[in-house]
Amino acid sequence: MKRDLGEKIFKGLTFISSILILISVAFIFYELIIGSLPSIKAFGWKFLIESIWDPIAERFSALPSIYGTIITSIIALIIGFPISIGIAIFISEICPYYLRQPLSFIIELLGAIPSIIYGMWGLFTLAPIIQLKIGPFLNKYLGFLPFFQGYPLGVGYLTAGIVLAIMIIPTISSISREIIMLVPKEQREGALALGMTKWEMISKVVLGNAKGGIIAGGMLGLGRALGETMAVTMVIGNAPNISISLFSPGYTISSTIANEFTEAVGKLHLSSLIELALILFFITFFTIAFTRYFIIKRIEKR
């Protein structure tokens, strides 16, 4: 009888802890919806398509923030994704076996650095370089493109995108590496035996096999880029604009929240910020949920 009791209590505790995780995510969703009701009532769908952010007149809309979030994430993926795949291939296929652990630890450390440090580095080291070197260079040679017109201020979409690109490298490369390692050795040997060069073997057999997993890794990296706050807040320039030029300052969803949340005086202002958080929650939740589901299915199938 007594033994039974201990078992019941312990099992109950583990069960409650599990349920607590489920409940807390549901509760986050619930609280965000409740908190954003005033703003939803006041602005409706116009919140998503207008581009006014005026705390004095109490008129808010999300488009500048959503635009900034998407643009910076796209830049991050364009720069970060190929580099991450290259790193994953290098560690799993090219470097000698005994270097695998130490070299992947170097990339892991890149992921361990707090985002505030990336922010400081971006603001004090990278931004001046963009302003004085890279910006004028792009403007001179690619200035005919609308993306590179205007005067580089140092802070802006491009700087934020580059910082994000570095930050998502560890996420994408570690997942791609894991998936690449799952490709059976026999397939590689078979490909080499057929007379393929090493790169043909990697691109046709390894990457072909790991395609789904690598895309999943990219999606998780995208999830991180969409929600990253501090680093972006420090280098995006914080202006509620929509601008096609990558040199101009902007806003992202997370940086708007970080900047204005403690200073929001009006109820509508606070509620609009919570609605922004709700939008971000939606975007990241479904990006990650979809990807994780895919990864779980794929790994369990094997």
Partner: protein, 279 residues
């Protein structure tokens, strides 16, 4: 295409892969080198023993922020570690059902939710009812960030324990819960310690969820219902300020923060390798 062309293409592509690794590690060393250069020159003893001072006044430190970061980490650990480990145990030992699948799935999703959203959530949940920013709110926010990581490592390290170990214990008449506490958890301890250190390193570097939960404080505080300073928020405020002295303190603070986090990470790695996972 003849063989030579294919071979050249192959070598070029392999070189590009190597290059991308070099680029990745180059950024790591650039950032760390920057920190070292700007951080070391501004480090002095005052940082560790003095409170923040207004701009213009010489000296001033971030002693309260360093202590605050550890206080927040302790609050977060005392909530996050038990819940994380218990739910990990449920997934591996008891759960062969829908709930265990969903816990695993949702906790992985939770680990990817932007931390600023956790901050907004805790603001609504704790700060508004308490009517003030508090260390407790900051700790709760960090614990929510910590739980998925701990659940994941518990799950992974418990799965590595072979079933024969459990069965041997059952055969001696030990009930399941005592088997888990006395046999399974100790065998998995090296994995757990590694995971806990990694999780600690992660939450100590978090800024976004603290911005509007624990806020900041220029004075000593050990009361949990009052705002508390943390290294990260202090670094953020100082770095964004227009004052030169504050900026140099921010660099020094950043150096200290990264040092703590790197030490935790290297220790975690060392511990994992020294003990080795149960094989």
């Amino acid at each position: 295409m003849n063989y030579r062309v294919r071979k050249i293409i192959s070598n070029i592509m392999l070189f590009l892969c190597t290059l991308s690794f070099i680029i990745g590690s180059f950024f790591l060393f650039w950032i760390l080198g920057d920190l070292l250069r700007k951080g070391i020159s501004s480090i002095n003893l005052n940082l560790f023993i003095e409170l923040p001072k207004p701009p213009g006044v010489p000296g001033g430190g971030i002693a309260n922020a360093i202590v605050g970061t550890f206080v927040l980490a302790i609050i977060a650990s005392s909530i996050g570690i038990p819940i994380g480990i218990l739910s990990g145990i449920y997934i591996v030992e008891y759960g062969n059902n829908k709930i265990s699948f969903w816990t695993r799935f949702i906790s992985e999703v939770l680990s990817g939710i932007p931390t600023i959203i956790i901050g907004v959530f805790v603001y609504i949940l704790v700060v508004i009812p308490m009517k003030r920013f508090s260390a407790l709110a900051g700790g709760i926010a960090l614990s929510i960030i910590m739980i998925p990581t701990i659940t994941k490592v518990t799950e992974e390290s418990l799965k590595m324990i072979p079933n024969s170990v459990r069965e041997a214990s059952y055969a001696l008449g030990v009930p399941k819960w005592r088997t888990i506490i006395k046999i399974v958890l100790p065998s998995a301890s090296s994995g757990l310690v590694t995971g806990i250190m990694t999780a600690l390193a992660r939450i100590m570097g978090e800024t976004a969820p603290l911005l509007f939960t624990s806020l900041n404080n220029s004075f000593w505080n050990i009361r949990l219902d009052q705002p508390i300073a943390s290294l990260t928020v202090q670094i953020f405020n100082y770095a964004m300020s227009p004052y030169k002295e504050w900026k140099s303190i921010a660099w020094a603070g950043a150096f200290i923060l990264v040092l703590i986090i790197l030490i935790l990470n290297v220790l975690a790695k060392y511990y994992a390798r020294k003990r080795g996972y149960y094989e």
